[in-house]
Subunit: 344 residues, 2 copies
Amino acid sequence: MKKSTTLSDIAIELNMTAATVSRALSDHPEISKSTKEKVKETAKKLNYNPNRIASSLRSGKTNVVGVLIPTAENAFFGSVIHGITKLASKHGYSVLIHECDEDYELEVKGIQTFIGARVDGIIVSLSRNTLNYDHFLEVQKRNIPLVFFDRVPDDLSFPTVVLDAYRGAYQATQHLIDQGYKRIAHIAGPLFIKTFNDRYKGYVAALQANKIPLDHTLMHIGDLSIESGREATRQFLQLAEPPDAIFATEDFTALGVLKELKVNKIRIPEQFGVLGFCNDVFSEHTTPSISTIDQQTYLMGRESFIMLNNMIENGSVKTSEIVKTVIDPILIVRESSMKSGNPA
Amino acid sequence: MKKSTTLSDIAIELNMTAATVSRALSDHPEISKSTKEKVKETAKKLNYNPNRIASSLRSGKTNVVGVLIPTAENAFFGSVIHGITKLASKHGYSVLIHECDEDYELEVKGIQTFIGARVDGIIVSLSRNTLNYDHFLEVQKRNIPLVFFDRVPDDLSFPTVVLDAYRGAYQATQHLIDQGYKRIAHIAGPLFIKTFNDRYKGYVAALQANKIPLDHTLMHIGDLSIESGREATRQFLQLAEPPDAIFATEDFTALGVLKELKVNKIRIPEQFGVLGFCNDVFSEHTTPSISTIDQQTYLMGRESFIMLNNMIENGSVKTSEIVKTVIDPILIVRESSMKSGNPA
DNA sequence: CTGAAAGCGCTTACAG
DNA sequence: CTGAAAGCGCTTACAG
């Protein structure tokens, strides 16, 4: 295998030292204009491409950030990655991706890999099964900037970027109330995960603010799937006093609700309102289309990188000033909840 | 910032040389068992995490592969990335992601970044606007293994992983014929992109094989969008002899067809058949659900990595034995084309 | 079985 | 304005 051109190849060609070549290429102010020109020309002629590995080793900066996610096979994370990489690349960073597949061991391995690669910073969304946070404390101990997004740890002092899920759920529920639905049920997700818990709380708070008594028969805990939406709907419909609307904690569940209601010939939105969460791609294209809460995923990626970049530039991470960025949820009103027409 | 533990920190602690420590940690056969044990224990005690940057520089191997794609904000590429990273991580590789956003300049920049990072191999899906391939020839000249998937260059000698789009389109069209549709139209994509051209050819070939004469009024070139599907459908419906089925070159176009047919109160699949391509997430959840061709995206990612890994392990890249892996398309029959019931 | 030494390709403080 | 030298943290051919 032919070796790449190095600084000293250029230096030899021009009868100068590698130090001068290095300085010329990085536009050091003390290098003469003519030298710079000669060096750059020769570099191009010899097809020089600087070895970033070598400069990283020397300078202690890799210009690489690590991104650790549960999976890339998912519109949510795909969009966040897009937000991160676009901005990262504009700032001269490369992005190392590691998927943990909701597996704790792989998450630990990913962090270890990032440390080994001496990345300048790390962005993480937690695996569903992570209960032990030692690997993240290790990152902190090594003073490597780390930002969590979306799935963030409850009780650790790291900067985070999250959606205001509570507010999103509140808006969703309020919207259903405003449209005239009277008995609004909720299909929640696993409540030990903070975002689903917040969505549940937002739902409860909106009911209370409107003086609607809580009814525990209208609450179901699902597992974030179409089938779970169907199952919950079946149970709701058998109640003595069934609901006339369902706020589902995410769109696949809402889709299950839709399917089950259609099987039962219940008209949406006239007789029954449905609202999801996430604004997953398909929710716009079902019949009827599903009202939902958009999470601004692209923005979430951007904000995560911006926060990380700030930490990298400011050097040390002060625990005293942990920043939390909160992304605004956006209510997307579609057919499935438009009982009284489009709100202003 | 506290410095990381290095090999020589361990060496000093144990009164030996860094060389011995290095060998002990990599289980070199000539190192005594007791030394290995002591070294490993001390490494753990001092929280040693080897600097991969340094070892890469020395060994000339980074254990990093670069993946260059148009965008991560897209189910297709997300799934391919998933296939790549999962396998890569199992083989001890990290994955560097670069998105080019269909922009030629960013594509070139991505390749340059990968070369600078001295990645061990590169996996690429071309940007839509790439006409000049010099940056890839540069990669070849440097003997860096490179595999293209899905959007591959026409006339360059690189290994590729592609779907057999011709066959997928043929199957799709044959299925519509088998279901009893008589006048089958096609909405194509940009024909200068190979995969859309192949889909078009597969459509034509299936018609010919069934002795169905080609009718140029039944052919429309779109731009891969819902609107383009609607527009084409509108035009088809105004023909003196309108089609009774449409094979669309991808699912968003098919969705547009669906929407326009519904506006016109045309019953699907009884009066009119619809079939898409890609098996995008939403196509399963529309009403009616859309029949389509699945591309086995996850497999495509895996195959790309496997091919790249072979090239990395075999050292040099012989132009004489360029491998082309072809992924089988899978016909997914759903409601939109089931005029005569489910085929066996 | 272990050590001494060189070197991967850069960058930068120190001289001149 | 440019050079000589050291060093980032590893690995490995050569000695012993």
